[in-house]
Symmetry: C2
Subunit: 788 residues, 2 copies
């Protein structure tokens, strides 16, 4: 929301190019250029390590414990948290040119370009640099984190001397306990816990390869990092490797003539475990490394391309009429894939593996924003993320018990499953995460039709969460089922009764759990579910209290919300945003001011619970109260704006969601990219302008496409129960095409449509004009549509 100070990147359809180095944007660019396969994450740091904003090499779920202190403690407060840590850095390749270190801050930088290629899945870099002594070199590096070989990353590094011969020394390293910029931590104990978190266990080196094994001090996790190299250079090139506790270093020395190239391919393998022995882990990474060498650089590049070609065939969203948005939507889709592709039964964090924001934690974002997209584009990744939730059920059962509840209470924020939230009103009390997980199960099963998954994974998650809701709520004397004292998605309101979002999601959770338990009777019985329990879920769902303000004709976000004082938006200058940094919670909680879509998100996820008139009135009401101090809001507002006929506004919100990291709109992209907003970008296109909804029952899919006036065409694809479907929206008509799979039925603007090999074209009904809506003073999205 800060004024646009020019962009870091050029606008191109399939690549993100940084045409020159800008030290002030380094953090943002490191995040945008982060490569990941969901298991390994490498921030877009320079090969030579420095300068940097934040060096980052991450392994999914590899964390250190940190103390969580409280001025005044309370029962059930978690005593320790989990923080993602920077593991052994293997992307370091330092260069000496005639004794002068290749460091862009010195000498003369003649050219510096980096390109993230979204089809190749690689980050390339080209530098032309004159050393302070005037030697000119060209450095070309290409980096990938393999989507096909989960434990592997690789770098191809080439140096060329441009003017006169020079002696080059290349040091390719593994560095553990890398020195990091100081943290902004009030608590020195946290600082202490996270400084030098790795304890050396073993180091090995051979000719061109090295292996380092470490263990974290408190969490007791073991990590192995190994590297191997292929060197192509002039005769006389010398290669040697040494290793000490925290450093592995392969040194390549060569005297290079102008026009000749020294080429180094660095293979990196990572592995970690909480249980495997030192030799086992050592051998595991060496084996992965051997496989990678066997595949070779060209092989890895080809595999990567092939994997992505297959992905893009379904996933690509084409947008005609807005080149910036075209690029942004593709980058967003790419990062969502990167976050989840090979996470494989581990968590998908709010920042993926692109930075240390939010301590690397996973929240409800994953299930609500990310998985519905992956279920349509990379279903196995979505399934694995939910299998991870299933794997942490024992911890969630324990937490529920500690809280005096039945079933499972999933952690509000975590890496490995333990609750790590240090502020319960916006943590533990946000029970909706449990219904969000259930909803992700429902959407996944609907999108894939995977009954085995439903029975083996879904059922247990549904039963556990339904039990939670049944014990968290109660029937009051009038028979209504109430859920009191919880916090919904909007973090500017907390500890409220009957939050509509929570109650609607819990209602669906209860209802769907009963349905699935009935469908898989024997499996349900093994979980102790009987007919009485299922009836109690249906009954609670049926009696669920959904407050409605008859005077205003809108749903209050929670009981009593619409009676609260409206925030003084006129009196709030722009520098007071985000409000949570400048006003106390108490003041936010008691007033009508909304950080992020809550009731509006309820309308997106439970459209069956609202008629169009209610949706319009609600949207208008909440639009005037929502300040979007969270990046989880614009994408949802885009969807509901589109549904309620505010196409220009939807377009503005879509752009805000899509450009959050490319334009660093939240000012914190340096901490990692906003995976949920990126996933929400896809949803804003497909559910918003495509009008895609799945029937509450789960069987059917429908579309109600409409283009915003600024765009001339949107084409998107998705997987649907074993099919590949593509939808192309043009100003007045839409074409549905079955790319692969058996014939199917769908609905187009309410009308049934049977689809087989033959594409079907349908007219788009004319939109009745709607009353414009207003945002809080100064909080309207940047007007992007023509005439704004």
């Amino acid at each position: 929301m800060s004024p646009d100070p020019g962009r870091a990147f050029t606008v191109e359809p399939w690549v993100v190019r940084e045409p020159r180095l800008d030290l002030d944007r380094m953090g943002q660019v490191e995040s945008v250029f982060a490569l990941s396969n969901g298991h390994i994450g490498l921030r877009g740091n320079l090969d030579e390590g420095e300068p940097h904003a934040m060096p980052g090499t991450y392994l999914n779920s590899f964390y250190e414990r940190r103390p969580l202190p409280y001025a005044e403690g309370g029962y059930g407060y978690p005593e320790s948290g989990q923080t993602i840590i920077n593991v052994t850095n293997g992307k370091l390749i330092r260069l000496l040119v005639e004794d002068e270190p290749f460091d862009l801050r010195y000498g003369q930088l003649r050219r510096h370009e980096r390109v993230l290629d979204l089809r190749a899945g690689m980050l390339t870099r080209e530098v032309e640099w004159a050393s302070p002594a005037g030697r000119v070199v060209r450095v070309r590096s290409t980096r990938l984190v393999s989507l096909t070989q989960r434990a592997i990353a690789a770098i191809c590094y080439e140096v060329e001397v441009l003017d006169e011969p020079a002696l080059l020394v290349v040091q390719s390293e593994l560095v553990a306990n890398e020195q990091l910029p100081a943290r902004d931590e009030a608590d020195p104990r946290v600082e202490a816990a996270l400084t030098d978190p790795l304890v050396a266990e073993q180091h090995r080196s051979a000719e061109a390869s090295a292996t380092l094994l470490h263990r974290t001090r408190r969490s007791g996790l073991r990590v192995a990092a190994a590297m191997d190299h292929e060197v192509h250079g002039p005769d006389g090139v010398q290669v040697s490797t040494e290793a000490t506790e925290d450093i592995g270093r392969t040194t390549v020395i060569a005297r290079l003539e102008p026009g000749r190239t020294l080429r180094l391919v660095k293979y990196l393998a990572y592995g970690w475990s909480s249980r495997r022995s030192l030799p086992a882990l050592h051998d595991q990474v060496r084996a992965a490394l051997a496989a990678a060498r066997y595949t070779g650089w060209d092989g890895l590049v080809a595999e990567q391309r092939q994997y992505l070609d297959e992905f893009w065939e379904t996933a690509d969203v084409e947008i005609d009429g807005d080149a910036e948005l075209q690029q942004a939507v593709r980058l967003a889709t790419f990062h969502v894939l990167q976050a989840g592709a090979r996470a494989e039964r581990r968590a998908i964090g709010a920042k993926g593996l692109t930075g240390e924001g939010y301590d690397g934690h996973t929240f409800w974002d994953t299930e609500t924003f990310c998985l519905p997209v992956l279920s349509h584009l990379a279903p196995e990744a979505a399934a694995d993320a939910l299998r991870w939730r299933q794997s942490i059920l024992p911890l969630a059962y324990e937490r529920a018990e500690q809280l005096g509840l039945a079933g499972a209470a999933f952690p509000w924020r975590t890496i490995r499953g333990q609750e790590c939230s240090g502020y319960w009103p916006a943590g533990t009390a946000a029970f909706h995460i449990n219904a969000d997980i259930a909803d992700a199960v429902r959407r996944h099963v609907a999108a894939t039709g995977d009954e085995v998954f439903e029975r083996e994974v879904g059922l247990e998650l549904l039963v556990a969460t339904a039990r939670l809701w049944r014990s968290l709520g109660h029937h009051d004397s009038s028979g209504e089922f109430r859920i009191d004292g919880v916090t919904g998605p909007d973090e500017y309101t907390a500890i409220v009764d009957n939050n509509v979002y929570t109650n609607l999601m819990a209602q669906q959770n209860l209802r769907y759990a009963a349905e699935v338990a009935a469908r898989h009777g024997r499996a349900a019985a093994r979980l102790g579910v009987d007919a009485e329990e299922m009836a109690s879920w249906r009954d609670a769902a049926k009696s669920m209290r959904i407050p409605f303000d008859e005077v205003l004709g809108v749903h209050p976000q929670a009981e009593g919300f619409t009676h609260h004082q409206v925030w003084d938006f006129e009196g709030t200058p722009p520098d007071k945003y985000p409000l949570l940094l400048n006003v106390p919670y108490f003041d936010l909680y008691r007033k009508q001011v909304i950080k992020q879509a809550d009731l509006v998100l309820a309308m997106q996820l439970r459209p069956d619970a609202f008629d169009l008139e209610q949706m319009r009135r609600n949207f208008a009401y909440y639009e005037a109260l929502t300040v979007r101090d969270s990046s989880l809001s614009a994408c949802t507002q885009a969807v509901v704006a589109a549904w309620t006929g505010h196409l220009d506004l939807a377009y503005d919100y879509l752009a805000e969601a899509a450009l959050v990291d490319l334009d660093d709109l939240a000012g914190n992209s340096d901490h990692g990219v906003h995976i949920a907003s990126m996933a929400g970008t896809w949803t804003a296109v497909v559910a918003g302008f495509g009008g895609m909804r799945m029937d509450a029952g789960g069987g059917g899919i429908s579309f109600a496409p409409r283009l915003p006036p600024a765009l001339s065409r949107i084409s998107f694809g998705l997987r649907w129960q074993g099919r590949q479907l593509r939808v192309e929206i043009r100003p007045d008509e839409v074409e549905y095409r079955l790319v692969s799979g058996p014939p199917m039925r769908l609905r187009h603007h309410g009308e049934p449509l049977a689809l087989d090999d033959e594409p079907q074209v349908r007219d788009i009904p004319v939109l009745d004009p709607v009353e414009p809506v207003e945002q809080p003073h100064g909080r309207a999205p940047k007007g992007r549509h023509p005439g704004s």
Copy 2:
């Protein structure tokens, strides 16, 4: 509430006697035997220092800063707290008997008795002890903290040898940075901040006297402690004094024949300042010491007795029919006096100066429970406590501004005025403290008729708090004035809308502020109050929303409260109490379970807002939900039980309030005595059984006395607008007597009564039988009344 394991003390009307030493009860006894004048506090530690539960020497408002850490911080969270610290210990007198230290854990203790005399204001101790080597001595010590000379404490210490001559060495000391038992602190930084908090600045010694000056490390406060001695012993007695940084030591050596006595009078003077220079503070304590020596031991003893005689003349409450209660009520009254007597524009803490519980902080207890008593018994102390509130107004204005509010926001807990609460839902959000302060002003002015105080102190406090309420609440579309998102007295419910207690107290605050501002127009104008502002206060008061549940016919504690699930009391075993230590806040907040009187306290403080039928229904409803996990509850329940005709129950609650420390009912008397419960004891007698109320307008006083069946007589006194009044309740009649002062009017059970020199006797109307009420399973007070 733990089972009664016998008592620490004997039952006697005017003294509290510990007949033998019980090491397990040491902490409780140290608190009960603590002496204080509101400026200096000395815990009832043994003269020789050890064994101890917690050594304690406190000076009002002398504190150290400590970090307040947060797992997740937030805007407006206080970053540092204030903790009362143990200052230079001057009550230490060690004894060596022929080289063997007098330590009760060794040798043979033949007799050990301590007596707190409530009329003398002194703690005496008599010990007969045989050393391990068999030498028998008798030690007699008497300690006082002077109520007349604020900076002074004194000890008379006598040793007698009983069998054969012995060489005695008495070491009378000042010790700074005394070693303390380990704190139960999760945070090592807090431990660090509070270990050795005093930095030595100067030490001086002369013949029999020494002075130590220190400064706190972080808060930068300077403290001076000085001692001087008079020694009476056999010829050849040798006296010398030395001082080092943290120790001043006067050594007295004497060879004593059997039957002879070595007598030492130790004078102690304390002073502290945040501003005065080292020499100034040094001279200040030496001057106080000189005055004390000039007065002499006998003089100090006589002054003390005279001060207390005058106090008890009004303050004494006589109870016939329950000797335990008689003693307890007197002890309670004594401790309330001690807490406030000479606090003199400094805070009165929740524990007085008897222990380190709650870090020595002052809460709303002071105004709501303590000051209304002091206004009737020691009005100058009450006035000074409110002058202290006035003195911290600049900080309260600042805090309000930080919170985005007008007027003043007083701290929920503090020593010197800065907010020290580290959990805002039960701290900052408990805004009612501001109305409680205003109410204490109202009661004080009504009780004293002090118009100068009203204008000079009251007006500013009232205007500042009225402005707070005006900005904290708002008129909703129906015109009602709502106060949303605050926390009332009951800490098992938080962040609610329209808490009835808060709204009624705010209503009175607004109304009374307008009234006083009108009465002192010029002074109000100087504070910027104009007719418009006064009208806006009256208007807000008039439109104040007071929710009422029409279906149940009771007032909900706050909006929606009566719809919440009722706590499962049957399923809660006794060891789960206090609940806050065993269940999470979130579960407490969302259910109907009450820690402490809230709506019931509203009925006590605003009886004008309820008719008798409502009071009865409300009392019955809330009685069934209140678990009394706070010691601030029983006294209030006693008052309203008496008002609603539950006299036996009122009696049970009165006993619980009165015996809280004598019987260590909360199990934490070792942290200091419960000043609010002690003050509430007086209130339970006078407002409860005496039926004393002041007209909302402030002009009149009324009584509606009734004895509980178990008692045969209650007599109490109070000051009323310059008069001394005594009321004697007998089973069927009551006698009103004007002890001093001009004729007055009062009401007796609603009937007007004019009182002059002639006592008036009136019949007590017969009480209609009432429906019994019930407490939560297992939470009824201990039945004390006959037949229970």
